[in-house]
Symmetry: C2
Amino acid sequence: MRDAYQSDLRHLVEDLAEISEMVHAALTDASTALLDGDLGLAERVIAADSHIDERQVQLDEKIVELLARQSPVASDLRLMVAGLRMSSTLERMGDLAAHIAIVARRRHPEIAVPSQHTEDFRRFAELALASIKDATSVIRNNDLALAAQVEKRDDEIDDLQSDVYRAIAREDSFTTAQIVDLTLLARFYERLGDHAVSLVRRVGFLVTGDSIDSRVALTDVDDF
Amino acid sequence: MRDAYQSDLRHLVEDLAEISEMVHAALTDASTALLDGDLGLAERVIAADSHIDERQVQLDEKIVELLARQSPVASDLRLMVAGLRMSSTLERMGDLAAHIAIVARRRHPEIAVPSQHTEDFRRFAELALASIKDATSVIRNNDLALAAQVEKRDDEIDDLQSDVYRAIAREDSFTTAQIVDLTLLARFYERLGDHAVSLVRRVGFLVTGDSIDSRVALTDVDDF
């Protein structure tokens, strides 16, 4: 009985790591669809978002059932509460990947990102994907050394967002529709970076027991 | 002992309603600061966001303590899990109000919203504020009749966002910085509408016991 419970807890962690992998795959494809203007790939990312949603709902049901059945205390309870929060965060990250694909689809056959900014958005994707990959390892192996990388990359993403907003403010050849798209796209990647930080902070909170604030400071659209 | 527990549960609901009122006040002031270009008011909204954050952290601690102490099952457990989720949603709504104030501050002494769009953003604020007010009543009194209004208003906000994006795409007198701001501002109000829907759906889930999907469909930036 106790063994089954321990196995349930391990499964909870593994479920979170697997959903994080699904988000990584979705963002990989969404970013490719965006930069290549690949309509079919964009459509697949948008359709596949419901799989992430289903996994989240299943995981939440599993956690609520565990809470009811086991009446956990202390670290097990904290793990379950963190699991509920992290599954929400991952579900939202899946939505953001789908939003990127939606912009790609909306602009097809044009490519939403003008060629001057291809490298910026390649970099957004690279940073966000590396952070999601690290977050997956942090979730699965409690490898908090990687958490610092995720925090550092989030600062880079914030700086890149400011740079992109400043650059498009200097540009006069873009249509308004292009500016709207670039603004939203930069915001989506920036939020993905924030969410990755939130994930690794939650794990840090579980491992160290400190009440680390898992929310991300209110600076993300502050000064560009 | 049992009475104290029932009182704790009532307090949980009241805490959520009070945080929702704080969000309403923050958005009222943020919207005024935005449309009047009131720097002092914008600063106060930004500074006050930490109070909402503190209330959320306190509420979460209270819920985790209740989970540990009472080992609730059935509807009490569902209430606590919903409370954790709703407190996250409210905290995020506070952030969005602060983000609106940050845009107002960034553009001061200019007003971020060009006069052609004053009415649109007055309407965004009106819709979002009415939904937060209704959500507060739904939380406090389980008044699900109001929930339908919140859903309806969310559709109106989505339509308004599409209209604004289309209108700015036709406009050629705006600077790029203005377009970036308008894009983000419309997005912030639109997300506030989504979050209000999420709040009332969670209450609906508690009251009816149905597994209503509290997430909002993936359509919000789809077709403008």
